[in-house]
């Protein structure tokens, strides 16, 4: 549900930066998406195509790096991979943990393969 708006935001930022940098063709837009960010990557790809149709970015591809979630147990400090938001520490079974990655949602860079 949110992906179209996010795709539009990606297109907006990428277009702005490309113009600022004098890039005439953007081959790829690289984004980092955490698996707990609330974004469905496939839906974002689809939305990006729709959002860029007939625009400066029409032939640009979106490359998503999906970042796995990791959490740190507040009791025994073990870093583990949680299943969503609902996981006990695999070592001490503590419920108190802090999510240290997996909520990322940002545009990383633009790639222009001919340097222009």
């Amino acid at each position: 549900m949110h992906e179209l708006g996010i795709a539009m935001r990606i297109a907006e930022i990428a277009t702005r930066v490309a113009r600022q940098e004098g890039v005439t063709k953007v081959d790829a837009v690289l984004v980092e998406v955490g698996e707990l960010s609330g974004i469905v990557p496939e839906a974002l790809l689809f939305s990006f195509e729709s959002a860029t149709k007939n625009s400066f970015l029409e032939n640009s591809r979106l490359e998503i790096n999906l970042i796995s979630a990791s959490a740190k147990c507040s009791s025994c400090q073990t870093v583990f991979r949680p299943e969503g938001f609902f996981t006990l520490c695999p070592v001490c079974e503590g419920v108190d943990s802090e999510i240290i990655s997996g909520k990322e949602l940002f545009i990383k860079s633009l790639v222009s393969e001919n340097g222009k």
Partner: protein
């Protein structure tokens, strides 16, 4: 089209109503975007935990951007927070399913705090002003935001509504979000306290099924406890589920429609206001 989440269809608009008991205000219309047609070639890719590196070919240029994709909403939320802090207005973002009892809870809170502080309300609903009308009957000043096809409130429309309400210093502001356990979780409104309501008629498994919402809320109010005898809701199970998702969350059980527990909530609210010292 909502600029942040794109959840509205073309042509719809977010409208901020008139503050009830207040002077009329104009409608706000969000800019529209032209429709895009169906997509074709799937050129794009998804990798897992492998940050892209530029292709080795000569002449490839990678321009670093690093910009948060929820940045525009976050910036508007930060503005709201700054304004509310300056005005010493304590604000709550109340979220929960449709029908979990958010509006009744707000009304009972307003009635209980009448002698203590002035309460203002921003009501978020897709359509209509039924909730704003109910709140208005308490004498509190309320403004309705209609999101049209939108599924949540965003910081920018809340910021406009805050200005329209002209809230005096040291007041309390309730923001009742659109009834939805998914989308509102992503959008900071600039509130001091994020509160999620779970009613016993919904089931004790909701925190597990809608984990991001419950993970992000500092407080959870379990409502309609007067119905516990009639529904299949295990309150200890619900609390255990909440603790597993957010072990720091404060949990309050009550029945806003008169079954008790409101005093505990009011005490917790007073503590929150004291601690945050907006």
């Amino acid at each position: 089209m909502c600029q942040t989440c794109g959840c509205e269809e073309k042509g719809s608009m977010v409208t901020i109503g008139k503050p009830l008991h207040f002077q009329p205000q104009k409608q706000e219309k969000k800019p529209e975007k032209s429709p895009k047609s169906e997509s074709s070639s799937p050129l794009a890719g998804i990798r897992i935990d492998s940050p892209a590196v530029s292709k080795d070919s000569v002449g490839t240029r990678e321009i670093e951007v690093v910009e948060n994709l929820l940045g525009d909403n976050d910036a508007a939320a930060a503005e709201n927070r700054k304004f509310l802090n300056e005005q010493k207005i304590f604000s709550l973002n109340l979220m929960g399913s449709p029908g979990c009892g958010k509006t009744t809870f707000i009304i009972k809170t307003i009635e209980s705090l009448k002698e203590e502080m002035e309460v203002f309300v921003i009501e978020g609903d897709q359509f209509g002003s039924l909730d704003a009308d109910r709140i208005s009957a308490t004498g509190a000043k309320v403004i309705q935001i209609n999101t049209g096809n939108g599924c949540h409130l965003d910081a920018r429309s809340v910021g406009k509504a805050i200005k329209e309400l002209e809230i005096p210093m040291n007041s309390l502001l309730f923001i009742e979000n659109v009834g939805n356990l998914v989308c509102p979780a992503l959008f900071d409104l600039g509130e001091h306290l994020r509160l999620v309501m779970l009613s016993v008629t919904e089931g004790d498994d909701k925190p597990v099924k809608y984990a991001p919402m419950f993970h992000g809320a500092a407080m959870c109010v379990i409502n309609k406890t007067d119905l516990l005898d009639y529904v299949n809701f295990d309150i200890e199970k619900a609390k255990e589920n909440l603790r597993r998702i957010n072990s720091k969350q404060k949990i309050i059980t009550l029945s806003a429609s008169g079954g008790g527990g409101m005093q505990e909530w009011l005490a917790a609210l007073r503590t929150e206001i004291q601690v945050s010292k907006p």
